[in-house]
């Protein structure tokens, strides 16, 4: 090649490059074949009211839909629970709909169990396969042949699941990993009410929270967050005061006026001690106590062994702090004492909650504005039961269970490893799951019949607490199903139908949307016909039936007497000498109990206190860390009697020196690409049952020891450990 040829060639190449950069890749303008029937206009968004189902709170949402694609979720201003507000988990629910790892069609297992090898089948094939298994079981006539695991359900779905399990001789086991079982049990003993109490935080003057993170995760955080704002700022002359008692400062505690760093498991004793002060100082509401059926001398007798000095010693607080908190609580009425998750998950949880409720009774705060309230109707929801769940493990390993069905729960992840749930499940001949994602339990399934996600389905949600509000929220599909999925209730109905069976009170209406419509008609009290059609449309537009009932329950109707005893000593798994630290497992404000871990928006949302993202961490007091030679970001091994895990360390000044805290929610083995293998599951450190008498989950009843492994913990935080991340943002 001579020089001339070379120049010619390069010239031609350059010209070719220039030309090819001009030839654009034209965008296409694809018309619709027929215009949309509902009259929606391209480019103009539609808004649909529905209910958020990321946690049991049941907040109302409004979903923005453009050209048939949902693209934003906001709070519904008409809904009395959240009044237009929405938390991060609610906002992120959108990502479940378009998640790349959703199960897109029915799947049948082809490889060995747990290998994740599935092949697609048609819906007819999938449903008939399950129907066949169920049919065989019914003719065998064996009791408990089938177990149906679900979360706590309400309304028509509950009716349907119950009828379904009865039809097939099965057993329905509702389960929530952040169980409110202890709260319900305490509530029955103190107030004679099965439902959870609602706290009128917005009108209170003084609040003391015993480990209740009501601004993050506790029962209805958006509702309480709004109420908290009103308590602090909405009244011209009163700014409500807030004290938090617990071994770790949570985000809720960080919003308080004072923090009482009480020892783990001693929260109930603190509450009892405060009651003692109120009794001694005669700051109680005497007439109210008579109405509640409480006797001052009996209460004083119960407190005889616990003078203030002993309470201060046991709780690790000063007498002065306890005294002033008690005095403020009794004087600044209306005042509220709330017991939360971390208290409930101790072995003395029920007693502690009762002691906290005693404070509410002493100051006469029951049924009052700014106090503890119950709705007129005792909502008998199916509560989850831990011991019932543990019984199923024995049933499954005993071989009497032949079919296990799962919808919306992941017990393989949510139960401690020591429970042996996974092993027992392996003995069940046939497992079917209705999950939209391959969670740890669904991975074990033989057949997956994927449900729609929340934004594609019909349903109804009664909020977990409503107090004085009679609310039924309606869930409606905001988009057409993205994949080849089938609504869970319709799958159940068709299974019963193939059996030739009928669900009493439900089958007559045909498919599930019709069932729901009929149920809403009954709830709204309208006659069928054109009149109701209008009401139905309006109900869907508004997002539910919101009857504001302003008459809360004033009197306590309990069957027996409320006998108060000072909470007994909490029991811990692990010897104090071998395992010197308390493990404090708390529900994450971002991940809740782990059900939201598959959403990348939430994975990259910084934890409000540590700014950590994309993983699990262990919070250690700087003094303890110093004595152990551990620094921020180190990898440590946390060991308990039940097992050990490795996590990075966050140096966290706002925690007691003998306590180490870990958030719940990560450490899924499967659950889509964003959650699988990320972080660790602190439940692996727990023993299934710590206290043999009370078979309750004990997230807080474990002792641990730690060992430094290396410098590289792989901790990712949004802020700098030594300073405020806000400060860094300002420098930009």
């Amino acid at each position: 090649m001579n020089r001339r040829e070379f120049l010619q060639l390069t010239g031609a190449a350059a010209a070719g490059g220039a030309l090819s950069s001009c030839t654009i890749n034209p965008e296409k303008l694809i018309p619709l074949l027929v215009p949309p029937e509902d009259g929606s206009i391209p480019g103009v968004a539609d808004y649909y009211a529905s209910i958020c189902r990321q946690c049991p709170a049941g907040c109302g949402i409004i979903v923005r839909v453009s050209e048939g694609r949902a693209n934003k979720i906001e709070g519904n201003p008409l809904h009395p629970v959240n009044k237009g507000k929405l938390c991060a988990r609610g906002q992120a629910a959108l990502q479940a709909l378009y998640h790349p790892d959703r199960i897109r069609q029915p799947l049948k297992r082809t490889g060995v169990r747990g290998s994740g090898e599935f092949s697609p089948v048609s819906w007819e094939e999938g449903l008939s396969l399950l129907a066949e298994k169920l049919k065989g079981m019914k003719t065998a006539g064996a009791r408990k042949g089938m177990i149906f695991f679900t979360p706590e359900l309400q309304g028509t779905i509950l009716q349907l699941v119950k009828a379904f399990t009865e039809h097939f001789n099965g057993m329905h086991v509702p389960y929530e990993s952040l169980s409110l079982e202890s709260h319900r049990k305490a509530s029955v003993d103190v107030y004679g009410r099965y439902e959870l109490p609602d706290y009128d935080i917005g009108s209170a003057q003084y609040i003391i929270s015993f480990g209740a993170d009501f601004l993050e995760t506790f029962v209805s955080p958006v509702r309480y967050g709004d109420a908290y704002g009103r308590m602090r700022r909405a009244r011209p002359t009163v700014r409500g005061l807030f004290t938090y008692a617990g071994p770790r400062m949570s985000m809720t505690a960080a919003s308080a006026d004072s923090w009482l760093p009480v020892k783990t498991g001693k929260e109930g004793i603190l509450a009892a001690g405060m009651a003692g002060v109120i009794l001694d100082e005669e700051l109680y509401d005497g007439p109210a106590l008579n109405i509640y059926g409480l006797n001052v001398s009996e209460l004083k007798a119960a407190m005889a062994d616990y003078p203030l000095k002993r309470v201060a010693e046991e709780t690790g607080l000063t007498e002065r702090d306890i005294f002033s908190a008690s005095r403020d609580f009794a004087r600044l009425r209306p005042s509220i004492a709330i017991a939360g998750d971390t208290v409930a998950h101790q072995t003395n949880g029920i007693d502690s909650i009762k002691a906290v409720h005693l404070l509410n009774l002493l100051t006469g705060n029951f049924g009052k504005q700014g106090g503890v309230r119950f709705s007129p109707k005792d909502l008998k929801q199916t509560a989850s039961s831990y011991s019932k769940l543990l019984d199923t493990i024995d049933d499954m390993s005993g071989g009497s269970v032949r079919v296990a069905l799962f919808h919306g729960v992941d017990p393989v992840y949510a139960l401690p490893k020591t429970s042996g749930f996974e092993k027992a499940l392996g003995k069940v001949p046939f497992i079917a799951s209705f999950s939209s994602f391959q969670c740890d339990t669904t991975r074990q399934a033989d057949l997956i019949l994927p449900d729609h996600t929340d934004l594609e389905s019909w349903g109804e949600v009664i909020p977990s607490i409503g107090g004085d509000i009679g609310v039924v929220g309606t869930v409606q599909p905001v988009v057409r199903p993205v994949h080849n999925t089938l609504a869970f209730p319709d799958a159940l109905l068709s299974l019963v139908k193939t059996e030739g069976g009928k669900v009493p009170g439900i089958s007559a209406y045909g498919d599930y949307p019709a069932v729901l419509k009929e149920h809403i008609r009954q709830a709204s009290g309208h006659k069928p016909g054109a009149d109701f059609e209008r009401v139905w449309t309006k109900t869907l537009q508004r997002g539910g039936i919101f009857k504001e009932d302003s008459k809360p329950v004033k009197s306590i109707n309990r069957s027996g007497k409320f006998i108060f005893t000072v909470p007994r000593k909490a029991v811990f798994s692990g010897d104090e000498k071998q395992f010197p630290f308390h493990l404090h497992i708390y529900p994450s404000a971002i991940m809740f109990d782990g059900r939201s871990a598959h959403l990348p928006w939430l994975q990259e949302t910084p934890d409000p206190m540590t700014t950590a993202v994309w993983g699990t961490w262990l919070e250690i007091n700087p003094k303890t860390a110093g004595s152990l030679g551990i620094t921020h970001g180190d990898l440590v091994e946390v060991e308990s009697p039940a097992g050990s895990i490795r996590v990075p360390v966050v140096i966290y000044p706002a925690i007691r020196s003998e306590v180490m805290a870990m958030p719940l929610g990560q450490g899924h083995r499967n659950f889509g690409r964003y959650a699988a293998g990320r972080g660790v599951n602190p439940l692996d450190l727990l023993e299934t049952v710590v206290d043999k008498e009370n078979r309750l989950p004990a997230l807080g009843a474990t002792r641990v020891r730690i060992k430094r492994i290396s410098k590289k913990g792989g901790l990712i935080t949004a802020g700098h450990p030594d300073g405020s991340y806000r400060g860094e943002l300002l420098e930009i």
């Binding site: 654009i24 034209p26 965008e27 694809i30 018309p31 619709l32 206009i41 391209p42 480019g43």
Partner: protein, 176 residues
């Protein structure tokens, strides 16, 4: 000295003028720089605006029916085309092609001539309401057999018009 100053001033003036000329010529040579394939690409069906909008004076909004109520003008749905052409001019090759698409339940993959980047918010309805009618940007389509882009759709071109009409030129007016 005076002479020198005049020279400087005139030189500056000349520089400014040539600069302006350069910018405007840049605008003017749009026709030469943008190739025909981009300015007026061949469409899958040789639809004539000259015939529909010109000869038969069909209102723009008859087909582009969302222009006055939505941010998008809306390309007519296939049913609308077929509703007339099931009966009109059925023998013509273009219409045969159209019916072919319709029977196969396929949309016609029209090639976009007027395109804005995704980071720009341009509502058609707001412009119509302000009296900026279709021809201000799209030109006189009644004379076009094949649709052709007559304006250089650039930010400066937008801003010129906004300034001329004393409309907001705040960034967030179009980019948010």
């Amino acid at each position: 000295m005076k002479h020198k100053r005049i020279i400087i001033i005139s030189a500056l003036f000349f520089a400014a003028a040539s600069g302006l000329l350069f910018i405007y010529s840049f605008e003017a040579i749009f026709y030469f720089t943008v190739p025909v394939v981009e300015r007026s690409p061949e469409q899958p069906i040789a639809f004539s605006h000259k015939k529909h909008a010109g000869k038969y004076s069909i209102n723009c909004l008859y087909c582009h029916r969302y222009a006055n109520i939505s941010k998008v003008a809306g390309v007519p749905d296939m049913e609308l085309c077929v509703s007339c052409h099931r009966f009109i001019a059925r023998k013509k090759p273009g219409i045969k092609k159209l019916i072919g698409y319709w029977e196969r339940k396929e949309p016609v993959p029209w090639i976009k001539v007027h395109d804005l980047p995704d980071f720009t918010y341009f509502p058609h309805n707001t412009h119509l309401r302000a009296g900026v009618y279709c021809d201000s940007c799209h030109g006189d389509v009644t004379t076009m057999d094949r649709i052709e882009r007559v304006s250089r759709i650039s930010m400066r071109w937008c801003l010129d018009c906004h300034r001329e009409r004393d409309v907001s030129i705040d960034c967030l007016q179009c980019h948010f």
